[in-house]
């Protein structure tokens, strides 16, 4: 496909269904969008020691993240330069001083560079040194460790990290600052939840504030109903505290506000959010005051953003220290990974709430998850209908929107979805030929 094919798929407030259903479009996303963008890879607390590694994917590319001998985090394509074998396939482990391919024992330093080949003399006078294989595993050059969060851009050219994310990093900062030590640690394994729908439906949903009171009436509404009936006086149980806000009225979501940034990033909960009224963890504020001083502590904890979308495929919740990665598998298949973090130096009660939130909202066994997956998959099959070819994202659309990428809106706007698709077009076509 060429630039024109892509641009034809978008209108200011409508998206052609092929964007969600076409295998060809998906292939272009892997080839362009996911290489021109900065993609979240993992957290450096997953590989604390030299030789630790973590293997994952960026789009459809298998990559390997390792803690190098110089203690920096290195990223390389997980592919042996000899015959293509994935050097490790365990998601995590420690490889010691070097990686060793299990097929013929070629070995590589933890930055991927070639260390040794058995019977090396077999390559003398063969021109081997001129082959691409002689360099070792191909490194990914553009890697950024932002306060522990590892991002990478596969293509050499493109926006640099700060330019790409701009003001949106403030949400990551707030999540990290909530640790008195300014440090997060990944806890446990991520929830892995397979969806038979396009990855973008999930990303759009993160700032879709008009669906909770409808789609989640069955889950949050039932909790509310049961709590109203059975609820004793005094403090709500943690689970109730977490789920009830999903049933807030439209006014609540209108009032929370939505902010957009350049390059498709944005967040809900500018003024308040469903996380604002969680009960306080004893001792936490004191720890924060000690670390930051009272004013700054209030500032940090006063910021209760709901969902922050990092274009193209990640979402974080600062106040609950969770991160969701929407991994594209196929045009109609998406793997959602839901990670949680410990606020180093903060009370366990916060981690307990984070873990509870994760299983109550993000698990394949979660009733809230059931509500959402049902919508996505109904949409994926509904879009096969030729009765209408366009998806509508027109709510609170303003003509000059595109001119002010950084802006704040009424919380029920679909502006952030439109913001995402403007970025989608930008990073799809930037490495495309004009015609093909």
């Amino acid at each position: 496909m060429n630039k024109l094919d892509i641009t034809k798929l978008l209108r200011p407030a409508e998206v052609h269904r092929d964007v969600y259903t076409s295998d060809a479009v998906f292939a272009e996303e892997m080839k362009h969008l996911f290489r021109n963008s900065w993609i979240y890879v993992g957290h450096d607390s997953q590989i604390p020691n030299k030789g630790d590694y973590y293997s994952t994917t960026i789009g459809d590319q298998p990559v390997l993240m390792a803690r190098h001998t110089d203690n920096t985090v290195k990223l390389m394509y997980n592919r042996c330069p000899h015959k293509g074998t994935q050097v490790v396939i365990d998601t995590k482990g420690n490889t010691g001083k070097f990686f060793r391919c299990p097929y013929h024992a070629w070995s590589f330093k933890t930055d991927g560079s070639l260390l040794a080949i058995p019977l090396k003399k077999g390559y003398e006078n063969t021109g081997f040194e001129k082959s691409c294989s002689s360099k070792g595993m191909t490194p990914v050059e553009n890697v950024k460790n932002y306060r522990g969060f590892i991002f990478a851009r596969l293509n050499d050219s493109g926006a640099d990290f700060e330019e790409f994310f701009g003001g949106s990093l403030s949400s990551l900062d707030n999540m990290i600052d909530r640790s008195p030590q300014g440090r997060l640690e990944v806890v446990g394994s991520p929830l892995r939840y397979m969806h038979h729908c396009n990855w973008k439906m999930l990303v759009e949903n993160q700032t879709d504030t008009c669906h909770p009171m409808v789609a989640h009436e069955s889950s949050a509404g039932t909790v509310k109903d049961i709590w109203d009936k059975e609820g004793v006086d005094g403090p709500k149980p943690m689970a109730v505290e977490v789920i009830l806000p999903f049933m807030s009225p439209y006014e609540f979501f209108e009032g929370m506000g939505i902010r957009t940034w350049d390059n498709g990033h944005g967040h809900t909960g500018v003024h308040h959010s469903i996380h604002s009224d969680y009960s306080v963890a004893p001792g936490y504020f004191e720890q924060m005051t000690e670390a930051y001083g009272e004013e700054r502590a209030r500032e940090i904890l006063g910021e209760n953003r709901h969902n922050t979308v990092y274009f193209p495929n990640m979402m974080i919740k600062g106040p609950i220290q969770s991160l969701r990665l929407f991994k594209p598998v196929a045009a109609d298949k998406t793997l959602v990974e839901s990670w949680i973090f410990r606020l180093v130096g903060a009370p366990d009660m916060l981690l307990e709430r984070t873990a509870m939130y994760n299983r109550l909202i993000n698990a394949p066994t979660s009733i809230v998850g059931h509500d959402d997956l049902e919508m996505y998959e109904r949409a994926q099959s509904g879009l096969m209908s030729d009765g209408m070819e366009w998806v509508n994202i027109q709510r609170l659309y303003e003509e000059d929107e595109a001119d002010n990428p950084v802006a704040t809106y009424n919380g029920t706007t679909e502006a952030q979805m439109r913001n995402q698709f403007r970025a989608w077009e930008k990073f799809m076509v930037m490495s495309m030929d004009g015609a093909q």
Binding site: V187, G188, S189, P190, L191, R192, Y193, M194, H195, H196, A215, E217, S218, S219, G221, T222, V223, D225, I226, W227, E230, P237, A239, V240, L335, S338, I340, D348, L351, E352, A355, M356, N358, R359, L360, A363, P364, T365, I367, G369, H370, D371, L373, E374, M375
Partner: protein
């Protein structure tokens, strides 16, 4: 019954699964003690209950919510409804402690859940901790480990 026999313990486990298959969810809830917990760990050999992610870790309030939701008018993920089936190996009695009023059982199972034309089969082990309360066996804790706990599952909507 003050001191359940091995047979009574096994029959209880078998009856529990049948109640789920027959969608008698309220009767099923009644098998739990007030402080009963239903736990599905996320990780293999998981020890930690609360400070890490689980697939499921629910008290009676949450379980009642699930059951009421399954019959709800606006429960779209249950239109149409899911169905499930349990197949149990004969439950093994791992511990009988009359003094502590604690009984442990171990039950390998396969679980089939279906909705529309899709069917998934989960294989695993159920570990029950039971006590006698007011003359009846109650579930203090039901721990369910599935062999592919860390696989990328789609919806699991009923009770394994």
């Amino acid at each position: 019954m003050m001191k359940p026999t091995e047979k009574e313990l096994a029959d209880f486990i078998i009856a529990e699964a049948r109640l789920i298959d027959e969608r008698k969810f309220l009767d099923w809830l009644a098998l739990f003690a007030d402080d009963g917990i239903y736990w599905m760990p996320l990780e293999w050999d998981q020890e930690e209950e609360k400070l890490t992610t689980s697939l499921l870790y629910e008290d009676m309030l949450l379980l009642r919510t699930r059951v009421q939701r399954l019959e709800g008018e606006r429960t779209f993920s249950q239109k149409p409804k899911s169905r499930c089936q349990h197949l149990l190996q004969a439950p093994q009695i791992d511990a009988i402690d009359h003094d502590a009023n604690l009984y442990q059982t171990y039950t390998p199972f396969h679980y089939a859940e279906t909705r529309f034309d899709e069917q998934v089969i989960l294989a695993g082990w159920a570990r029950h901790t039971l006590s006698v309360m007011e003359g009846e066996l109650k579930i203090r804790k039901k721990r369910v480990d599935i062999v592919n706990c860390d696989a990328p599952h789609r919806n699991i909507q009923l009770f394994v």
